[in-house]
C-alpha cells in the first residue's frame, strides 16, 4: 500500500484542480495520508501569485529531497507555474507537468516507479542525465513519453485541458463543489501572472459542465461554484460552436427549476469588461442562481485601472452595479481591491475609497500591492512605501467594516435560509452562510446538520460576525 500526500497552495482553481489530482491517485490505488512523512508519493500544486507561495514550494522540495537519502520517494509539482520556475523545478522534482496533462499522470508515475532507485541521486543530476539513465533500463519510457516533463511551450499549456476536465473529481466536500468551466486568461492585467502560467482562455464544453452539475446536484450537493479566470468570457474562444456564459446560466437555471432540487449556484470571477446586464437579468429569473455577485474592481480610479490594463473604467463598473441594484436589489456584492499599486497617488486611492463608500460592498478582499514575478508590473518600480500601503489597507478595511456592519445589523430579527458549512471556531456553534455568502453562526452541536439548509433567525450582528437561532431544518 503506497500512501500519497498533496499540498495545495493558492486559489479556488488550484483547490478544484486538486480534487481531480486526488481522483487520479485514488484511482491508481494510492491511499491518502494527512502526514507527508508517511507518503511514498508527495506532490504540490503551486501558486505563482506571490513569491512567498513559490518559496514554499522550494522549502517543501528541499525537505522532500533530503528524505530521499533515507527512503524511496516520488515527488511531483503542477499547478500555476511560471516558465522560469518550471525549468528550475525540473531539476528538483521527479515529475513536473501542466495540469492539462493530468490524464497522463498514471503513466508518468509508472515510468518513474522504475527509475526510483536512481531517483535518489536525481537532485544532483541534470534532466538529460536522468533521461539517459532511464533509457538504459529495459521497458522504460520512450524519449517521446518523457517530453511532458519539459512543459516549456506556453502555447501547449492548454492543449490537453479537455482531457483534464474529463477526469471525474473526488470532491473535498459532499455538499460544496467547484466546477471548472474555463482555464487560462486573455486579459493580461499588468499585476497578474495567470496568462503566463495557465495560458490562453479555453472554455470547457457546456454539455460536460451541465452533466457534471446535474450529477452532483443529484448526489445532493447544495452549493456549486462555476470557476474560471474570467467566467463571463466563457465560450468566446469557441465562437459560434459554444453557448455564452449568460446562456450557460440560463440552462442551469432551467435545470434548477425542472429538477426540484435545492441548490445555490455561484460563479467566480467575472471581469467587468465582459459583464453585461443580461447576466444580471438571468440571475434575477432563477431561484437556484445565487444572489451574490463577486465583481473585482481592483481600483476606483480610471488612471490606475489603465496602468493595471484592466480594460474597464469606473463608469463601466458602475453600470454593472446599477444593473445589479435594478434587477437583483437583494444581492450581496463582493469585490477585490489592490491598494498601493505602482504609481497610485493619494488622490487615486481616495477614488477607491469613494467607490467603496458608494457601492457599500458586503465583502472586499483587499490586498496591498506586491509585484508578482512574471507579471508585467513586476518590471515597474514598486514605488509606494510599505507604510503607506498599510495605511491604505487599514483605511479601506475600515470603510468595508462600516458598510458591512450596516448591512448585517439590518438582518437582525429577520429569518434566513442558510447552508451549514461546519463547526464554528466558537465551541458549541456551527457555521453557516446565507445565499449571499454572509457567514452566520448558531448554537448547535448537531453535526448532522452540516451540509443541510436550515432556517435561522438572526439575533445579533457585528461587522464581521452574525449570530442566529435555529428555526427549522430543511428536509431534502
Amino acid at each position: 500500500m503506497i500512501k500519497y500526500h498533496l499540498v495545495t497552495l493558492g486559489c479556488q482553481m488550484n483547490m478544484s484542480d486538486s480534487e481531480r489530482v486526488r481522483a487520479v491517485l485514488d484511482g491508481l490505488g494510492y491511499i491518502w495520508t494527512d502526514k507527508e512523512e508517511e507518503a511514498g508519493l508527495v506532490g504540490i500544486l503551486a501558486c505563482s501569485v506571490r513569491q512567498k507561495a513559490i518559496d514554499k514550494v522550494y522549502n517543501r522540495i528541499s525537505k522532500w529531497n533530503k528524505w530521499k537519502d533515507k527512503r524511496n520517494l516520488i515527488t511531483f509539482v503542477s499547478g500555476c507555474l511560471l516558465p522560469a520556475d518550471r525549468d528550475k523545478f525540473l531539476k528538483l522534482f521527479d515529475l513536473v507537468f501542466p495540469m492539462s496533462e493530468l490524464n497522463q499522470f498514471p503513466d508518468m508515475i509508472r515510468q518513474y516507479g522504475v527509475v526510483t532507485p536512481f531517483g535518489l541521486e536525481q537532485e544532483h543530476s541534470s534532466e538529460k542525465e536522468v533521461i539517459k539513465k532511464a533509457q538504459a533500463i529495459p521497458d522504460f519510457v520512450s524519449p517521446k513519453k518523457i517530453e511532458f516533463n519539459t512543459g516549456k511551450k506556453m502555447s501547449e499549456l492548454n492543449i490537453h485541458i479537455e482531457d483534464f476536465w474529463d477526469v471525474e473529481p473526488n470532491y473535498a466536500s459532499n455538499f460544496e463543489a467547484f466546477i471548472p468551466i474555463q482555464n487560462g486568461c486573455d486579459k493580461f492585467c499588468t499585476f497578474c501572472a495567470v496568462p503566463y502560467t495557465r495560458g490562453r482562455e479555453v472554455s470547457r464544453s457546456s454539455e460536460d459542465i451541465l452533466n457534471e452539475l446535474k450529477r452532483i446536484v443529484d448526489q445532493g450537493f447544495k452549493s456549486i461554484t462555476l470557476l474560471g479566470q474570467n467566467v463571463n468570457s466563457y465560450g468566446l474562444d469557441k465562437g459560434d460552436e459554444e453557448i455564452s456564459f449568460t446562456e450557460l446560466l440560463e440552462k442551469i437555471g432551467e435545470y434548477g427549476n425542472q429538477s426540484g432540487k435545492e441548490f445555490w449556484l455561484y460563479f467566480t470571477s467575472p471581469h467587468p469588461r465582459d459583464m453585461g446586464e443580461e447576466v444580471i437579468e438571468v440571475i434575477s429569473k432563477y431561484n437556484c442562481l445565487a444572489k451574490q455577485i463577486h465583481l473585482p474592481a481592483q481600483s476606483g480610479d480610471d488612471n490606475v485601472l489603465i496602468r493595471m490594463n484592466r480594460k474597464h473604467s469606473v463608469d463601466k463598473y458602475w453600470q454593472i452595479i446599477h444593473a445589479i441594484h435594478k434587477h437583483i436589489p437583494q444581492a450581496t456584492i463582493f469585490t477585490d481591491i489592490i491598494v498601493g499599486f505602482t504609481g497610485e497617488t493619494d488622490e487615486q486611492f481616495q477614488n477607491t475609497l469613494k467607490l467603496m463608500e458608494e457601492v457599500k460592498f458586503n465583502m472586499a478582499y483587499i490586498a496591498m500591492y506586491s509585484p508578482r514575478p512574471g507579471a508585467a508590473s513586476s518590471r515597474w518600480s514598486n514605488d509606494i512605501d510599505q507604510e503607506i500601503k498599510k495605511k491604505r489597507l487599514h483605511a479601506s478595511s475600515e470603510v468595508l467594516r462600516k458598510h458591512s456592519l450596516v448591512y448585517n445589523k439590518k438582518l437582525v430579527g429577520q429569518s434566513r435560509k442558510v447552508l451549514v458549512k461546519g463547526q464554528d471556531r466558537k465551541e458549541g456553534y456551527l457555521s453557516a452562510y446565507t445565499e449571499g455568502r454572509i457567514v452566520v453562526r448558531f448554537k448547535s452541536t448537531n453535526t448532522k446538520q452540516i451540509g443541510s439548509f436550515v432556517d435561522l433567525k438572526i439575533t445579533s450582528a457585528t461587522s464581521l460576525s452574525i449570530e442566529g437561532e435555529l428555526i427549522e431544518t430543511w428536509k431534502d
Partner: protein, 218 residues
C-alpha cells in the same frame, strides 16, 4: 489557427529601423487577428514570452512585430539576435485595442509613443480610407519608424530632442497647443505616463472617457 497543430513559425525578414529598433517578419500560417491585437512571442527554445502588438495588416500573409531592444530586457535582447530562418514561438492573438466596425469611418486620432505606433501601423495597413491623424511621440526624428506608409498630412511626429520632426515637443505639448474635436475617437498606445497625461489633456478638452481607448506598453 488551431494551436494544437503546433506550427513552426520561422523568421522571413528582419528590417533594422534604428540601432535598437527592428521589425521581425515571420510566418503567419492561419493565425487570425484583428488589427490592434497583440501576440506573444519568444525564442523557440525559450520559456519566456512577451506581448507584442501585431505591426502588419490583417490581409498580409505574414506577421510582423516592431521590437525595440531594451537595455535590461531579456526577451528583446534574444529577439535581436535572431536570423532569417530561425524559428520563434508565437502565441495566438488576444486583446481589445481595436477599432469597432461601427467606428471605422469616424474621425480618429491615434497617439503613440515610440514603438506604440505598432497597432496604428496595423490599423492603417488593414483598413482602407481611414480618416485618421497619427501623433507619434519620439525623441529623435530618426525614430519615425517607416513613417512613409502614412499620408504626409496624417502623420505628425512630435520630436522632443531634435527639431527635425513635424512638431517640436512631446505629444502632450501638441495636445496643449491644438484643439481636438470632441467627437473624435482617440486611441493611445505607449508608455503609461504619456497615456495618462494625454488622457487628462483630452478630457480637459471635452473628449469623453468613452471616446478614449488605451493600450499600455511596459
Amino acid at each position: 489557427m488551431n494551436l494544437r497543430e503546433n506550427k513552426i513559425f520561422k523568421i522571413q525578414e528582419i528590417r533594422e529601423l534604428t540601432e535598437s529598433a527592428f521589425v521581425l517578419r515571420f510566418d503567419r500560417h492561419r493565425l487570425n487577428f484583428v488589427a490592434g491585437q497583440h501576440i506573444l512571442i519568444g525564442l523557440d527554445e525559450s520559456a519566456e514570452l512577451r506581448e507584442y502588438s501585431v505591426y502588419s495588416g490583417e490581409k498580409d500573409n505574414f506577421l510582423e512585430v516592431l521590437v525595440k531592444e531594451v537595455e535590461d530586457g531579456s526577451v528583446s535582447k534574444q529577439l535581436k539576435k535572431l536570423k532569417v530562418g530561425d524559428p520563434i514561438q508565437v502565441e495566438s492573438a488576444v486583446g481589445f485595442f481595436r477599432i469597432g466596425k461601427e467606428d471605422i469611418d469616424k474621425n480618429l486620432l491615434f497617439i503613440a509613443s515610440g514603438t506604440g505606433i505598432a497597432p496604428f501601423h496595423s490599423f492603417v495597413t488593414s483598413y482602407d480610407d481611414l480618416n485618421y491623424t497619427l501623433l507619434h511621440g519620439i525623441r529623435y526624428a530618426s525614430e519615425a519608424y517607416e513613417s512613409d506608409i502614412y499620408e504626409n498630412h496624417r502623420y505628425i511626429s512630435c520630436v522632443s530632442k531634435d527639431n527635425k520632426g513635424t512638431f517640436q515637443g512631446r505629444v502632450t505639448d501638441y495636445l496643449k497647443e491644438n484643439k481636438i474635436d470632441k467627437n473624435t475617437l482617440v486611441y493611445l498606445c505607449g508608455n503609461s505616463d504619456m497615456i495618462l497625461e494625454s488622457k487628462d489633456l483630452l478630457e480637459e478638452q471635452g473628449i469623453s472617457n468613452e471616446h478614449i481607448f488605451t493600450e499600455v506598453y511596459f
